[in-house]
């Protein structure tokens, strides 16, 4: 991921030597084309955010009353706390950029306290005044439906599937990179991962439907969807984790072995802590894919939200995510404001996915920029 890129034009300053006549025209056409494509995508993203954001803010009525739903209060508290913590984080990090002296230990502690305080205050006092779109129940027939349970389900799916992907993915990566003795078996595992990665997502859906929903009689359930998503994400996590483990400097491991540690101790205390940022960024990326996936979930977790279990932690209930909701509203929804509901849902979804991407890039860079501190931590 962080391989050194040759910088074109570094030695001969290629792009200072422009061509003549036709060449100049072709070059200009290429530039205009590339910039137009980029601008179109950027505009589409911006449009999604603005249009959806307007809907999120301006929803005014609850289609269905919210009282008496188990866990609803907690969800609202969590949402308010998260929103306010994010705002406080943004404020404090831009303050740090403006006032460099805040970049001290006391400054860091202060900003952490500020964020915690903002989360608490927001959660306690603003939870009843949140944008209604974010907390209301969805409605198929009336205007004014929200996506509260969908947001909860989307995040819950991320937790459930990561709980499966993380140990198995990291374990398999460690095995391939450090413990495997037989080459044929390693190449079998690799082929298996390549095959998994190449399957169309609908195939995962059919598999999950057949095995978890029908054969194991779990019915449409979150756990069936989460297991399918864990399978979908396994190739990505194993691949990146293996790369991160292989990138750990050999000297560190040799040093640990020379000190008398066994190979297992070396892997647990030196290799994995050192490879951790890479593994973490793979996990964050895989969470982004959980947010985005829809076809396998339609076939394993269903397309409904039940009022009584909207925020239940029971993994054997069914439930839809934001992506599934966006599809369902457009294909089967009857509500008169489905364009607005879709816009809001799409905006929330895009924000979530963009956040995971930015976060993954940040964590990944964490792995490349400051190896000294990580090495120190790993070998402490």
């Amino acid at each position: 991921m962080n391989e050194a890129r040759p910088t074109p034009g570094s030695s001969l300053a290629l792009h200072t030597r422009r061509g003549h006549g036709t060449e100049r025209f072709i070059l200009r056409a290429l530039a205009v084309g590339a910039l137009a494509i980029a601008a179109a995508y950027a505009f589409a993203l911006l449009f999604l955010l603005v249009r959806g954001g307007m809907r999120v803010v301006s929803f005014t009525s609850y289609a269905t009353p919210l009282d008496g739903i188990e866990g609803e209060e907690r969800m609202r508290f969590g949402l308010a706390a998260t929103l306010f913590a994010a705002a406080a984080w943004a404020v404090s990090s831009s303050a740090k950029r403006l006032v460099p002296s805040l970049e001290s230990r006391a400054g860091r502690r202060g900003s952490r306290a500020f964020i915690a305080l903002a989360a608490l205050v927001g959660g306690l006092f603003v939870r009843d005044h949140l944008p209604r779109f974010l907390i209301a129940l969805p409605s198929e027939t009336h205007a004014g439906g929200g996506v509260g349970p969908e947001i909860f389900n989307t995040l819950y799916f991320a937790v459930l599937s990561t709980a499966v992907t993380l140990p198995i993915g990291v374990g398999a990566a460690v095995y391939i990179a450090r413990f495997a003795k037989s080459r044929p078996f390693v190449s079998t595992v690799r082929t298996a991962l390549d095959t998994l990665a190449s399957l169309p997502s609908i195939v995962y859906g059919l598999f999950g439907f057949l095995v978890f929903v029908v054969e194991m009689k779990a019915g449409y359930s979150l756990i069936a969807g989460a297991l399918v998503l864990a399978l979908v994400n396994l190739p990505l996590v194993v691949g990146v984790a293996e790369e991160a483990i292989r990138a750990v400097p050999r000297e560190l491991e040799d040093g640990s072995l020379a000190l008398g540690a066994t190979q297992v101790q070396t892997v647990l205390r030196v290799t994995l802590p050192h490879a951790w940022p890479g593994i973490l960024s793979a996990l964050v990326l895989s969470i982004g894919r959980v947010f985005a996936e829809s076809a396998p979930l339609i076939m394993t977790a269903g397309t409904t939200i039940s009022r009584s279990t909207a925020y239940s932690l029971d993994p054997f209930r069914g439930g839809e995510t934001l992506a599934v909701h966006l599809w369902y509203v457009n294909s089967a929804g009857l509500s008169p404001d489905k364009a607005d509901v879709s816009a809001g849902t799409a905006a929330v979804l895009v924000i979530l996915v963009a956040l995971t991407n930015v976060l993954a890039a940040r964590i990944g860079r964490l792995g490349g920029v400051d190896p000294g501190r990580r090495a120190a931590r790993a070998t402490r």
Binding site: L12, L30, Y41, L196, S198, S201, A292
Partner: protein, 313 residues
């Protein structure tokens, strides 16, 4: 979790080592990672086996000749002609590659060799985010803004009273083209960056202009990586489900033109699975179609892997 394991087991490990019990932890960890490796293989085999078992049962019940030779897909009448589905999948994915791949590759070529340096990272970030945007979001955008546009275009082309509309292969191909541009762009950027700087320098030293260098040295030098990028785009387009379902119209027929509703394999699976009871021929036939899709897409992936394995640059 692995991190916590380290932190938590640190003290334990020390104690165990003192008693000579480190071997148990050692053996347990070794066993765990081995089981994880085996799990990956077993789950892959299971996915393929379940699909193949049910799919082959479906092919037996219906007959291979009907599945890949007949044009009427009508589960309620016991007719499972898969041709409209297969044709829909192939044409929409091929159309997506035609519309989306070339612009993506050229944009990547321009960014790699000619764009100002300050533009490169934002360009890449933009396409990383847009390639992660859920496909249903693209589908919804296309449904609300592209389909009405195509509807007007279709009526202008075929006349006001013609049986044409915005939903159909044209919209599906355009939507898929838009969807694969980010993926193909990023893969192309990687492929072009792998061309060694020395080749560019040599070309410039021979008196080639930057444009000649780009088109006669860099792009040919990276053609294998670029081809992999395009194939990858095709595979993604062929496997795409929900977004296509939203714009293709969902009519189980061969499309007479690009503006008539038709269907694809994955679309039909999602639609029919909702009312097919598992174990019935209807459901088995859908698994058979999934098997066809799998063969299609893994064929492409195999070609891709053959190409990228021999990557010598």
């Amino acid at each position: 979790m692995a991190n916590q394991m380290t932190a938590d087991s640190r003290a334990e490990l020390g104690a165990l080592r003192a008693q000579g019990g480190g071997r148990i932890v050692d053996a347990l960890v070794r066993l765990f990672v081995l089981v994880c490796g085996v799990f990956v293989v077993v789950s892959t085999v299971l996915v393929i086996a379940f699909l193949a078992k049910t799919g082959i049962k479906g092919i037996r019940e219906v007959g291979l000749a009907q599945i890949i030779g007949h044009v009427v897909w009508k589960p309620e009448a016991g007719l499972f002609g898969g041709v409209p589905l297969i044709v829909g999948t192939l044409i929409s994915a091929a159309g997506a590659v035609v519309l989306g791949a070339a612009p993506a590759v050229f944009a990547a070529a321009w960014v790699t060799d000619f764009a100002p340096k300050s533009l490169k990272t934002p360009f890449r970030r933009l396409f990383e985010i847009t390639s992660a945007v859920p496909s249903v979001v693209y589908g919804w955008l296309a449904l609300s803004y592209l389909v009405p546009l195509m509807d007007r275009l279709a009526h202008r082309l075929y006349g006001e009273d013609a049986q044409v509309g915005g939903e159909g292969l044209a919209s599906a191909a355009m939507l898929l083209g838009v969807m694969i541009v980010p993926t193909v762009t990023i893969l192309s950027l990687d492929a072009l960056a792998r061309v060694p700087q020395s080749l560019r320098d040599a070309s410039a030293a021979l008196g080639a202009s930057p444009l000649q260098t780009a088109f006669r040295v860099v792009i040919p030098g990276a053609w294998r990586g670029l081809l992999v990028a395009v194939f990858y785009g095709f595979a993604r387009a062929a496997g795409e489900t929900m977004a296509v379902q939203m714009v293709i119209g969902g009519a189980r027929q061969l499309a007479p033109n690009a503006f008539a509703p038709t269907t694809t394999i994955s679309t039909q699976i999602v639609m029919d699975m909702q009312n097919a009871m598992p174990g019935t021929p209807e459901s088995d036939a859908l698994y058979a179609m999934a098997l066809v899709l799998l063969v299609l897409s893994s064929g492409v992936v195999l070609i891709t892997r053959g190409l990228s394995a021999r990557r010598s640059l």
